[in-house]
Amino acid sequence: MNQAAVNPAAVSAHRLGRRYGKLWALRDCSLRLGPGSVVALVGPNGAGKSTLLNILAGLIEPSEGEVRILGETPNDRVRSRVAFTAQNHPLYRSLTVAQTMRAGRLLNTEWDEPMARERFAQLDIPLDRRVGRLSTGQQAQVSLTLALAKRPQLLLLDEPLAALDPVARQVFMQTVMGAAADGEVTIVLSSHVITDLERVCDHLIVLDHGRVQVAGAVDDLLAEHTVLSGPADQAESLRRNHVVIGASTVGRQTIALVRGETPHDEAWRAEPVGLEELVVTYLRNPHQAALPGPRGIVKDQVA
C-alpha cells in the first residue's frame, strides 16, 4: 500500500465555491485536513457547513475550485471510503433496523456487520423495530453505526447532535470518540455550537457567510490567542500595536481577544482563551480571519 507511504491529506480543497443561482453558499474555501484529525466545523446557520460537507461527501459538485478526498477527485471508489450522515439522520423509516443494515451491506463493498450488530446490542436498539419508530437518539445511533460499518477513512457528520437530548448527545459522542481513538479515520463534525464538539476535536474550522474564517489545530489556535483585560483608555493603543480580533468595553474596562504577541504592560492582564469565546469573537468580527499560510497573518483582512 503505497497510499499509506504517500499519506495524502484526508481532504484538500482549493478555492472551493458553490453557488445557488446568484447566491454563493460557499466561496473561496481552501482547506487541508490531515489524516486522523477530528475536525469541528463551526458556523452560524446558513454559513455553508452543509454545502461543504455535501461537496466532501461527493453529493454535489462545486461550482468552482478543486477538491481531493483521500488524494483523489471524488469518484465511486473514494465514496466507498467516505461515510456521511446528513442532518436529521435520514434513513428509510419503513425499514427495520435489520433491513436497514442489510441495505447497507448490499450497497457497499466494505461492511463490518459484527461491529454493527454488537453496537446495536450495546445500545439496546431492537433490530426488528422500524427505524421510524425509534427515538431520535436511536435513529442518530443507527445512522452513525451504518456510517462506521463502512469502515470509512473519512467520516462526515452534519449537525449530528442538533436534535439530540443531553444524554443522547453524550452516548453519541462516546461512539464518535471511540471511532476516533480506534485509528486512521478522519472525522469532520459540524455544529453551530462549539461546546458540543470542544472535548473531541483537535482541529477547528469556522465558516461564516460561505467563507472560511478560522482554520487550524485547536491547540495552536488556543496558544496563539490571549484574552486581555485592561483600561478602556488604552484600547486604542492596543489596537494599533497588536492584532486585536475583537474587543468589548464595559465601563472603564476593555476585554480584548488578541492574536500573537501581547503587550508587556502591566495595565493588561492576560488570560488563556476558551474555544467558545474564540469562535464567538471571530464570528462577531467577520472581517478578521485566522488561516494557515500567508493569508492568516494579514491583519484586518477586509473581505
Binding site: R79, Q87, K150
Partner: protein, 324 residues
C-alpha cells in the same frame, strides 16, 4: 440493491396488482357471457358490412344492451394504465429528496446512476407486465366488439391491446421519473406528469395517428344511406368532404343550397342525392384500412418508445449532474 428497491416500492406495486388483478378477473369472467351473447346474435355475418342498415342497427343494439357493467371500463383502463406509470414513476427520485434519504443512498458505494438504473429497470419490467396483462384481458373480453368495429373506429380496441397498454404505462412512468428527477417534489412531478401524459396522448391520437401512412382516397356518390360508402365497415374514414366533378371541395352550405327546392327550383321533385349526383357532387373520403391496425400500433408504440428513451436520458443526465 434489487432487494432494497423492491422493499421500498412493493406496497405501491401490490396496490396495482390488486386493482389490475380485480379488473382482469372481471373481464375474464364477463367474457364468457359476452362471447356467448355474440355467438347467439348472428353478428358474425355482419363483419365488414357497411351498407346494410340491419347490420348497423344490430351492431348498435348489441353494443348498447350487452356490454353491461363493464361498458365504460375503457375509461377506467385509460386511467389505470396512466396511473400505473405516474404513481410509480413520479415519486421515484423526489421521495428520496423529500425524506432526505438521497444523502444516505447516494453516499454508499453504489453509484447514483446504478441506483436509478436498478430502480427504473425493475419497475419498468413490473409496469410492462401489469399493463400488458390488463390489455390482454380487455382485448379478450372486447374481442366480439373489436371484430365488428376494427381497430380504428373504436379507440378502445386500438389503445387497449397488451402492447399499447404496456407502452402507455411505460410512457407515464418515464415522464414521471424525469419530472421527479428535475422537480424533486412528488406532487409537482405528478401534476406535470399527468399533464404531459394527457397532452401527448391527445396529440398523438387526434393529430398524428391518421397520418402514420398515406390514407386511401375513396370517392363515392351521394346515396340514400346518407354516408360515404365504398370501403369496409371496419375501415377508418377520418376525413370526409363533398367535392365537385373537378375535385374541388364544396361547402356544406353550398350543398344545402343546391338541394333545397326553395333556393334551387331545379331540385324540386328530386331526392337530394339525385340532385347532387346530377351535379357531379360526391363524397371524398380519406380512409385507413382496418388491416393496417397492427402496423399502426407498432408505429405508435415506436413513437412512444422514442419519447420514453428521451425521458430516460433526461432523468439519467439530471441524476448524474451532481447539482442540487
Amino acid at each position: 440493491m434489487m432487494w432494497l428497491s423492491w422493499r421500498l416500492h412493493r406496497a405501491a406495486v401490490f396496490t396495482f396488482v390488486l386493482v389490475i388483478g380485480g379488473l382482469v378477473a372481471l373481464y375474464l369472467v364477463d367474457s364468457i357471457r359476452l362471447h356467448d351473447l355474440y355467438a347467439a346474435s348472428g353478428l358474425e355475418k355482419c363483419i365488414g358490412v357497411l351498407n346494410d342498415t340491419s347490420c348497423a342497427t344490430r351492431r348498435q343494439v348489441f353494443l348498447a344492451e350487452n356490454l353491461g357493467l363493464l361498458q365504460h371500463t375503457d375509461y377506467v383502463l385509460a386511467v389505470v394504465t396512466g396511473a400505473l406509470g405516474v404513481v410509480l414513476g413520479a415519486p421515484m427520485v423526489s421521495t428520496e429528496f423529500e425524506r432526505g434519504t438521497w444523502q444516505w443512498i447516494w453516499t454508499q458505494r453504489i453509484s447514483r446512476t446504478r441506483w436509478l438504473a436498478v430502480n427504473v429497470t425493475m419497475m419498468a419490467v413490473i409496469i410492462v407486465g401489469l399493463g400488458a396483462t390488463l390489455g390482454a384481458a380487455y382485448t379478450w373480453w372486447y374481442k366480439p366488439v373489436a371484430a365488428q368495429t376494427g381497430p380504428f373506429t373504436n379507440v378502445s380496441v386500438f389503445d387497449n391491446t397488451p402492447l399499447m397498454c404496456a407502452v402507455f404505462s411505460l410512457f407515464g412512468f418515464a415522464v414521471g421519473v424525469a419530472a421527479s428527477a428535475f422537480l424533486r417534489r412528488t406532487l409537482g412531478a405528478m401534476g406535470i406528469t399527468v399533464a404531459v401524459f394527457l397532452v401527448t396522448r391527445f396529440i398523438v391520437l387526434y393529430w398524428l395517428r391518421p397520418h402514420y401512412m398515406a390514407p386511401i382516397v375513396v370517392e363515392s356518390p351521394a346515396n340514400q344511406a346518407e354516408r360515404p360508402l365504398g370501403f369496409d365497415a371496419r375501415d377508418w374514414s377520418f376525413h370526409s368532404v363533398w367535392v365537385d366533378a373537378s375535385g374541388h371541395e364544396v361547402s356544406s352550405t353550398d350543398v344545402a343550397r343546391l338541394i333545397s327546392p326553395d333556393l334551387n327550383p331545379a331540385a324540386a321533385g328530386h331526392q337530394w342525392y339525385e340532385v347532387l349526383q346530377q351535379n357531379g357532387i360526391h363524397y371524398y373520403t380519406l380512409v385507413q384500412p382496418y388491416q393496417r391496425g397492427g402496423i399502426f400500433q407498432l408505429i405508435e408504440a415506436g413513437i412512444f418508445l422514442a419519447l420514453i428513451a428521451i425521458c430516460g436520458t433526461l432523468a439519467f443526465w439530471r441524476i448524474r449532474r451532481r447539482t442540487i
